[in-house]
């Protein structure tokens, strides 16, 4: 049996926005650690891994592990009716096939209760090995979203080059070429906007802009994003939350038509 109470619905709403375009159905795996989700997108190209640690809830109770199969579009529709400041309580039971959501407004004179039907989802976990990446770039998540959006005008794919001077995003297409370079900067005043690079080796890799743009739906969850890269290994795009994270994995593109 699961019972988990979250102080603000806004967090849950943002998480759903961050995953629902990539994934339509997924299991929320509940254990005494917290609530986790891992799923590939429908075309098996990208992987999303989300974790909300139990510390983020108050109270949190989960006496045995539960896999709650949820249609994310439906959940997102239901969450749209929660106020950002509402307190959310999630309840589920292995004997039952629904997820119960209760939203209480701060004044406590409005209670919404939803029962969402669950599904049996036969999903497979992928094992994600620990990797030491050649380059780890921490940057403004809004800046990353903007670059991915801007370059999509030119091409379906972007080449990311990391050196110790900075990170460069380049795209080539029929209109012409474009490149955005962020300098490794100690913009002391605006910590949220600075670009910080940890580098073992220079990197130059190609990625699908369509997927990267999808990942940036997580931008509202964190002002910072981390890109971790090595050649021939999937890119890790991570948005950290106070008590958890959303991680996206995407393999580099291969071949001539990059």
């Amino acid at each position: 049996m699961l019972e988990a109470r979250l102080q603000t619905a806004a967090l849950l709403k943002k998480i759903l926005e961050a995953v629902k375009e990539l994934i339509t159905d997924a299991n929320f795996d509940c254990s005494d650690n917290g609530i986790a989700l891992q799923a590939m997108d429908n075309s098996h190209v990208a992987l999303v891994a989300m974790l909300l640690r139990q510390e983020g809830f108050e109270p949190y109770r989960c006496d045995r592990t539960l896999a709650l199969g949820v249609n994310l579009v439906s959940l997102s529709k239901v969450l749209r009716s929660a106020g950002n400041e509402d307190i959310v309580t999630l309840k589920a039971d292995s004997s039952n096939d629904t997820l119960s959501l209760t939203f209480e407004n701060p004044d406590n004179d409005r209670i919404s209760e939803y029962e969402l039907k669950l599904m049996d989802i036969d999903s497979e976990h992928l094992g994600i090995p620990d990797t030491t990446y050649d380059a780890v770039v921490s940057m403004s998540s809004a800046e990353f979203a903007r670059i991915c959006r801007d370059l999509q005008v030119l091409s379906d794919s972007v080449q990311i080059d990391v050196t110790k001077e900075g990170i460069k995003f380049a795209a080539k297409g029929e209109l012409g070429n474009g490149a955005v370079t962020l300098k490794q900067a100690a913009n002391v005043d605006k910590e949220d906007e600075s670009t910080v690079i940890e580098l073992n080796r220079n990197c130059s890799l190609n990625f699908s802009l369509k997927y990267l743009n999808n990942f940036t739906k997580a931008t509202p969850l964190s002002s910072r994003v981390t890109l971790s890269m090595s050649s021939e290994v999937p890119l890790l795009v991570e948005y950290k939350m106070e008590t958890g994270y959303i991680r996206y994995y995407l393999a580099p593109k291969i071949g001539d038509d990059v």
Partner: protein
């Protein structure tokens, strides 16, 4: 997450699906026009055992035919659609005993593009062709079925909706519907043997579900894990 034993990455498979649609005027029914589709029953074992589908040439068979044809007359100019179309012809003739040149008055064929369905370990691409045979005049007696012929049945469009058809095959019928309602930009009737999927219009019309060959699946990198 601890890493576990290796499973294979999903493999790609292609097949050629023929939606054979016969239209005729029945004698016993006031002469109103009738319209039916051909379904074939799958073998009673294996994937999707016993389900009904449109006549389908599987990848293995497609490959063999292509090789044979290439050897015979260096036909490397055969477009993919043409190749599949001929394989379907041959399947209808040799496996089901249907000779399109004899059974009806006229035939219109049309490339419907392709639909993709993901099974747990196979990414299957269904290339669909619509074959409309008008003025069908073969009686059941005239139709000589070969020995190894699978179970076949002609069904109405309404019956299709309730038949036990696998999802992937069902998607090919959706391609036909889309074409008819004009909702998609799918290319229109391109007569018989001269049609080629290489034309400019055809390229735009290809459904976006076409997989991008330069983008590897994430499951080639991370291993499946028993839970």
């Amino acid at each position: 997450y601890p890493r576990k034993a290796v499973k294979k990455a999903p493999r790609d498979e292609e097949c050629a699906v023929s939606i054979l649609h016969r239209v005729w005027r029945s004698d016993d029914d006031g002469g109103t026009q009738r319209s039916e589709y051909l379904l074939v029953k799958r073998p009673n074992q294996g994937l999707l055992a016993g389900m009904w589908e449109f006549p389908t040439v599987e990848q293995e068979e497609l490959g063999k035919e292509k090789a044979a044809r290439l050897k015979a007359k260096a036909a490397d100019s055969l477009s993919d659609y043409q190749h599949r179309s001929q394989s379907s012809d041959s399947f209808l003739r040799t496996r089901l005993g249907i000779n399109l040149a004899e059974c009806c008055d006229s035939v219109v064929r049309q490339d419907l593009g392709s639909a993709t369905h993901l099974f747990s370990h196979i990414r299957k691409v269904y290339h669909a062709e619509y074959i409309m045979a008008t003025g069908w005049h073969w009686t059941d007696a005239q139709w000589k079925r070969p020995k190894n012929c699978p179970e076949v049945e002609w069904v109405s469009e309404e019956a299709l909706a309730t038949a036990a058809i696998p999802t992937g095959i069902g998607k090919t019928f959706q391609l036909l519907r889309k074409l008819r309602t004009g909702k998609s930009g799918a290319k229109k009737a391109s007569g018989g043997a001269s049609s080629s999927s290489q034309s400019a219009s055809a390229r735009n019309a290809r459904p976006s579900s076409e997989p991008d060959k330069s983008q590897p699946s994430i499951s080639r990198f991370f291993k499946h894990q028993s839970k």
